[in-house]
């Protein structure tokens, strides 16, 4: 069972975000981590390897600093890591990122490709399903359960829909994007961290991927601005020491202000 995991490096979700005057975010002192959902994706791949053997390869698109996130996946136990880095990818939109990843993955023949269900920086949730299309693989997104029958050559997955649970059977090879309830990612062990430090991270540019500018396609979607959201301010505050008075305040609020009563 050979699995490829696509990961991304993102700001820590607990960190404050400072927006630069010229656009983009100020990364000075910003704690950058492996996207949370990608830890779950890596964990899922490692469990498949433990169950069925094979290898786990992690791949990321990003600048040089992305090595740290790849290193973390190696420390968790991934076998090898590749960084796709090219100036043409610096302002890439999601489809271009997916095309770069597809070019890399096509050079292998994985049984499964696993991604996080979204990355917590731009929240787009586009690359996974787009990649499935480019690789012509069946997909199941935001899965909360994954059971693989290697003999039958398919996976059974659970997906949460609004008000329902969907159970799908997906033939392999396939692409999955994972929900956080799928598993509990392991912490890198000390020997794992030491081993990861010694591993080479391969770096490939578009030429090495054999992807021409034409094949990368145009950036159809461009992020042209970032703004601080309109702040919410504290409204009325009520002392609830007297619960009946508090209840009256809430009911009045729900009726007169929020108009739901």
């Amino acid at each position: 069972m050979n699995v490829i995991v696509c990961i991304k490096q993102v700001p820590d979700t607990e960190a404050p975000i400072r927006i630069r005057a010229g656009g983009g975010i100020d990364e000075t002192g910003l704690n950058l981590v492996m996207n949370y959902y990608d830890e779950h994706a890596t964990e899922a791949a490692l469990r498949l390897r433990e169950q069925f053997g094979g290898t786990v390869t992690v791949v990321a698109v990003g600048p040089e600093r992305t090595r740290e996130a790849l290193r973390q996946a190696l420390a968790m136990g991934a076998d090898e890591a590749t960084l796709l880095r090219d100036p043409a990818l610096d302002a890439a939109d999601h489809l271009q990122v997916a095309r770069a990843l597809a070019a890399f993955i096509r050079s292998r023949t994985p049984d499964a490709v696993i991604c996080g269900k979204l990355s917590t920086d731009d929240n787009a949730a586009v690359v996974g399903a787009a990649l499935a299309e480019l690789l012509d693989l069946p997909q199941a997104t935001a899965i909360a359960k994954l059971e693989l029958d290697a003999g039958a050559g398919h996976a059974t997955v659970h997906r949460e829909l609004e008000g329902a649970l969907e159970i799908l059977e997906v033939p392999l090879p396939a692409l999955f994007t994972v929900e956080r309830s799928l598993n509990e990612p392991r912490y890198p062990s000390l020997p794992g961290i030491m081993k990861a430090k010694r591993k080479e991270i391969a770096v490939l540019d578009l030429a090495a991927l054999g992807l021409s500018a034409n094949e990368l396609g145009p950036a159809g979607a461009t992020l042209t601005g970032l703004a601080t959201p309109p702040g919410r301010t504290a409204g009325i505050q009520v002392n609830g020491a007297d619960p009946d008075a508090a209840v009256e305040a809430i009911v009045t609020f729900l009726g007169d202000r929020a108009k739901v009563l």
Binding site: P11, T13, E14, I17, I25, L95, D121, D122, N123, A125, V126, V127, A129, A130, E133, A142, R159, E160, L161, E162, G163, L165, E166, I167, L168, E169, A174, R180, S181, P218, G220, A221, T222, L223, T224, G225, L226, A227, T228, P229, A234, G235, I236, Q237, V238, N239, G240, P243, D244, A246, V247, E248, A249, I250, V251, F253, G255, A258, V260, L261
Partner: protein
């Protein structure tokens, strides 16, 4: 500044087991705003929706395009992608609007990759400027609002957050239904084994007008009954912050926040929730926020429109009774 209008905007109808999701109507209103005098087409894949000409016409569609094919009875990524790709290449709409539901998020990127279409997701505003589609969307756990422009790559695909745009007023109008067909050769590799309804979710969290949500302050799974009772009285949905999910008090599908659902109801009632950034990322788009917490320094109070510093175990049962009484009084 909005300029011009799009000649043809499509809305993908979100439906399951015959019932149409509210997001569909929200999208029809948005589509009309972008199309102006142009055409708004509701695209209905699969059968089972009664009287589509009337229900979509009433909300602003000029036409309903239907593919009623047994291969589309159940949603599958590949079935829907094949249907929309075939329709889009035949009719060349300028823009396709898809609701940000589990299915919409599954489908839209795949379709975009197939068509080479520019895509933007999680849209909370949409406008036309200088011949480009300009969308704003929350980013960085709602700590920033990004502006994304789509220029090349038509049809544009915009995946729109639910409960952000209003449902348009109903008009007395019935429109033309055009039947289309699915290509003969469509490869659908995934098989839907089962779709199991989650009984308690009478209103999906992402569509609810009112959400009653609980956090660590509820102290245990049994106390979610207090929220259930209030939710029944208010016809609300019940959610939670992350700690109750991590503690196994409630299933993961309750979770609202960065690692759960994003909601924007009319009213969000946060009970025993401190207001970690992780949680705020999923609910700070709510129209009104009511917070009940015994800690006066809880960060949630900094954004609550009504903050009640008090004991939720004292307040919630009384609140449920008061809501029932008020509803009974009409």
């Amino acid at each position: 500044m909005a300029q011009g209008a799009l000649p043809e905007v499509w809305v993908l109808v979100a439906h399951r087991e015959g019932s149409v999701r509210k997001i569909t109507y929200e999208l029809l209103g948005t589509a009309r705003g972008l199309a102006g005098e142009g055409r708004v087409v509701a695209v209905l894949l699969g059968g089972g929706v009664e009287d589509p000409a009337r229900i979509f016409g009433q909300r602003g569609a000029d036409e309903v395009m239907v593919i009623d094919d047994p291969r589309l009875t159940q949603y599958t990524t590949e079935g829907y992608a094949a249907a929309l790709a075939a329709l889009a290449s035949e009719h060349t709409p300028a823009l396709l609007l898809i609701g940000s539901t589990a299915q919409g998020r599954d489908l839209a990127p795949r379709l975009a990759a197939r068509l080479g279409a520019a895509i933007v997701t999680d849209c909370q505003t949409l406008a036309l400027e200088g011949g480009e589609l300009v969308a704003t969307r929350p980013m960085y756990t709602r700590k920033a609002i990004g502006t994304v422009r789509l220029a090349q790559g038509r049809p544009w695909i915009a995946v729109v957050l639910p409960a952000v745009f209003p449902v348009p007023e109903e008009s007395d109008r019935s429109v033309e239904v055009r039947e289309a067909s699915l290509p003969a050769e469509v490869r659908i590799r995934t098989r839907v084994v089962e779709t199991r309804a989650i009984e308690r979710e009478t209103v999906p969290l992402t569509e609810a007008d009112v959400i009653v949500s609980g956090g660590r302050g509820l102290r245990g799974p049994e106390n979610f009954a207090l929220l259930d009772a209030l939710a029944r009285a208010l016809e609300a949905a019940v959610g939670s912050s992350r700690p109750p999910v991590d503690s196994g008090w409630v299933p993961h599908d309750y979770e609202i926040g960065q690692t759960g659902k994003t909601v924007s109801p009319q009213v969000y009632i946060a009970c025993g929730i401190s207001g970690a950034p992780q949680h705020l990322a999923g609910m700070s788009g709510s129209k009104f926020i009511v917070a009940i917490n015994k800690d006066p320094n809880a960060p949630i109070f900094q954004l609550a429109d009504l903050g009640v510093v008090g004991d939720l175990f004292e307040i919630l049962p009384r609140l449920t009774e008061a809501v029932k009484k008020r509803k009974a009084a009409g």
